[in-house]
């Protein structure tokens, strides 16, 4: 069974139709990229999956369960984690604290007024592991607000990982980054996908990143579904080329 | 009994008109600048006392015209010197600043004019009852209702048809776009603040004629004005108007049976509205 099935979702803001009857099925272990020209409705589509917005119509099925009406926190508990287009972290807390919070939430400790020594040690060990994974071990005690854009983004991604997600949603993970940082983040995502066997859906503008990472690509244009296929198929698709060129012209 | 109810409904309508006039000014400032102006009641008191001071020279009618204008001018000065510095900062700070101003204005009027209730003379032509069977319907009360109605209509006309009004409404919806379009946001906020304070001053003159003049005249009226805004829905001026009239009438009606519960009543109404419709009767979803 597919991990994520998006069935005919639409989203209207007043008379504006941001997403119009889009469907998408993502298998477990897949890395799916969602692309499209500006204003294609990618971020809105993403917000519908993560629960930031509720669709005007259509259904979202995660692991066989209808999650269309679930609040964001509950979707996280089911295993859907996300990052944001503009990096969302806790700027005035240290990297370690930033990671500690999701680790504790995922361990079911979020309401605990205290932690036993063993639980505390377990949390600390998990945090250390995540710091290593994000290449942040040497910056663990610095405030996230002081870090470079790339490191903040890496922090945000490992924060999402701290939740032990079964589906990771990344909204333009390399937006606003230089080549060096883009490369590092791309490698991190690739490791998560290949070694961690994590199912990932990402929105991305940088086509080098998309074609380097994705197993399959979904293309949206002006809120509607345009095409879906392997990177090769998409590269050869005329409708896709027209959509992108049409925007350039 | 019917007459008693009618009396209280009419009374409630008048009180509600005060609330609405005051709350409309608060709402204007809140919507455009994100400042909860705690000092609004203080400005109302300033308007009332200025009228008191002017009546010997200008008469009631002159004071009614000049006092709100002077109050608005005073408001502009305060905005320029103090409040302007806090735009865009944590709303906590403007709240505390206007809170302090409220103290100073109330105590300032007390310092100048004394703590006792002062007689506020209204023209004889307005003070006599219009009809013996409806003894409560004095000319002044009727005049007040008409004046508030006129002021509200004028306000909505200004907002709908003048350049300033259209800009204020646009700025309320999307300040950034308005500033990109070349509107001077600083001046817009100042004028809007002045307009709000003008309404407070006007309410002050009218309230003094009805309730008598004392330093706490403003702080007694400010809380119901908050409730009027919340019930009507933040961001909606028509909502504020309806909210003000509604709580005025409701507390008037409750007075018939449970006079001591009339104040608490409006907060119960607020609780019910928040329970059923958290954004208020006319509030838009997603704002505030």
């Amino acid at each position: 069974m597919s991990l994520l099935q998006v069935e005919h979702v639409s989203k209207h803001f007043g008379s504006l139709i941001a997403v119009n009857d889009v469907s998408m099925t993502v298998e477990a272990g897949q890395l799916r990229a969602v692309i499209g020209p500006n204003g294609a409705g990618k971020t809105t589509f993403f917000n519908l999956i993560s629960g930031f917005l509720r669709p005007s119509s259509g259904r979202i099925i995660f692991d066989g369960e209808d999650v269309t009406a679930l609040l964001p926190a509950r979707r996280v508990w089911r295993g859907i984690a996300r990052t944001f287009q503009v990096t969302e972290v806790f700027p005035e807390l240290s990297v370690r604290q930033n990671l500690r919070i999701p680790v504790e939430v995922a361990s079911g400790y979020r309401l605990r007024p205290w932690l036993s020594r063993s639980a505390d040690a377990k949390v600390a060990a998990h945090v250390a592991e995540l710091l290593e994974m994000g290449g942040l071990a040497d910056k663990a005690d610095r405030l996230v607000g002081e870090l470079s854009h790339g490191d903040q983004r890496a922090t945000e991604i490992v924060m999402a990982l701290a939740l032990n997600p079964r589906l990771l949603l990344l909204d333009e993970p390399t937006a606003g980054m230089g080549d060096q940082e883009t490369y590092a983040i791309t490698q991190l995502i690739r490791r998560l996908h290949k070694d961690g066997k994590l199912t990932i859906v990402l929105i991305e503008h940088d086509m080098r990143v998309v074609f380097h990472l994705a197993d399959r690509i979904t293309v949206l244009d002006q809120g509607s579904f345009l095409a879906e296929g392997t990177p090769q198929e998409i590269a050869a698709n005329e409708a896709v080329q027209t959509a992108y060129l049409g925007q350039a012209a | 009994m019917t007459q008693l109810i009618l009396y209280n409904v009419f009374n409630g309508l008048i009180v509600g008109a005060f609330y609405a006039l005051m709350a409309l000014g608060l709402s204007l400032i809140l919507n455009l600048s994100g400042v909860i102006n705690f000092a609004h009641g203080g400005f109302l008191a300033v308007g009332a006392y200025l009228a008191f001071a002017l009546i010997p020279y200008l008469g009631f009618w002159g004071a009614l015209v000049i006092s709100p204008l002077l109050t608005a001018l005073f408001g502009l000065v305060i905005e320029r010197l103090l409040i302007r510095r806090l735009y865009g900062r944590d709303p906590l700070y403007s709240l505390l600043l206007t809170f302090g101003l409220a103290f100073m204005l109330e105590d300032g009027t007390r310092f100048i004019w004394g703590p006792q209730t002062l007689p506020f003379s209204i023209p004889d032509s307005l003070s006599s009852p219009l009809s013996s069977s409806f003894f409560f319907l004095t000319g002044y009360r009727l005049f007040m209702v008409l004046l508030v109605t006129a002021a509200v209509i004028a306000l909505f006309l200004i907002l709908s048809y003048t350049r300033l009004g259209v800009r204020i409404r646009a700025g309320t919806l999307d300040l950034e776009t308005v500033s990109v379009l070349g509107v001077n946001v600083r001046i817009l906020r100042s004028l809007n603040f002045g307009l709000g304070i003008y309404l407070a001053g006007l309410a002050g003159v009218l309230a003094a004629g009805m309730l008598g003049l004392q330093p706490t005249i403003g702080s007694d009226l400010i809380m119901p004005s908050f409730v009027a805004i919340i019930i009507g829905g933040l961001g909606s001026l028509p909502g504020t108007l309806v909210g003000g009239l509604l709580i005025g009438v409701a507390s008037g009606v409750v007075t018939v049976w449970f006079p001591s519960a009339s104040e608490a009543m409006i907060y119960v109404m607020m609780g019910l509205v928040l329970l059923v419709r958290p954004r208020g009767l006319f509030g838009e979803e997603g704002r505030f």
Binding site: A73, V105 | Y93, I229, Y267
Partner: protein, 320 residues
Amino acid sequence: MKDGPQDYPKYVGAAVIWLALLSMPFWINRVGGYTQLGTEVLVMALAATALNFLLGFTGVLSFGHAAYFGLGVYGAGLTIKYLLPSTLAGMAVGVLTAVVAAAIIGLLIVHLRGIYFAMVTIAFGQVFYFIAFRWNNVTGGDDGLSNWSRQPIDFGFARLDILHSPVTFYYFVLFFFAVAVAIMAALLRSPFGRTLLAIRENERRTRFLGVPVDRHIWLSWLISCTFVGLAGTLYALLNNFADPHTLYWEQSGVFVIMAVLGGMRSFWGPLIGAAIYVVLQDYVSTMTQNWMSFIGLFFVLVVLFFPRGVLGIIRRKVVP
């Protein structure tokens, strides 16, 4: 979490504060104060610290905490006067009243944010003021509730005469202050407390880390109101009087200015702010009739010149 050398100044600061509080009855008279003034500082500091749990550490702008403070005041006063002449019973009822009211009102408002939340909390606070004001055959109305006093506490083996000895009462208040402050400090260092900091820093991020934000804000609000209620009961005991002005919206503003003046981002900030405010008010109100103007001016000056608060400024200087 482990503490490093960067935390040492914090420990030194806390040690100095506790020493000062423990020894206060021995020096306060010599610097021109009196023991009751010290007790009032403690009570107000407890209220401001409790408010700051919500304001400074959860990032929620409540401007209506006087309601729960006043419910503590009246809960304690009415119980001791009419039901049971027992100090501890009065305190229990006072705190419970505040908690129940906060729990119910909290449910109505937790999904509101920012200025909307502030306005609604201010407005709701007034309900209790009008009840106390109007129900005057029970509450004494505008005159307040008098003709009752705190009672000595009998443990069987020992008797604590908090009624006649101001110093004993000071330590009685200090005990509750210490317990309450210790609980709040421990909570802020717990996983739950970290979710509150997270909400303050970035609510959206917190929600998408699987934290039901509204529920956590409700809990924080409840904890905050509980300790404000406790402070209210102590305030009633201090004065042997329940004053309707403790329920009035002006009192809420006073709690906020204490927190801001001392430093909202520091745990001890509200204590410093409360000490400055209480001492200043005591001084000014003996000097002039127009103390309201001074307090108002004080608010304005704090906002314009000390928005970070005393401890905020010190921290800035130490850690550039």
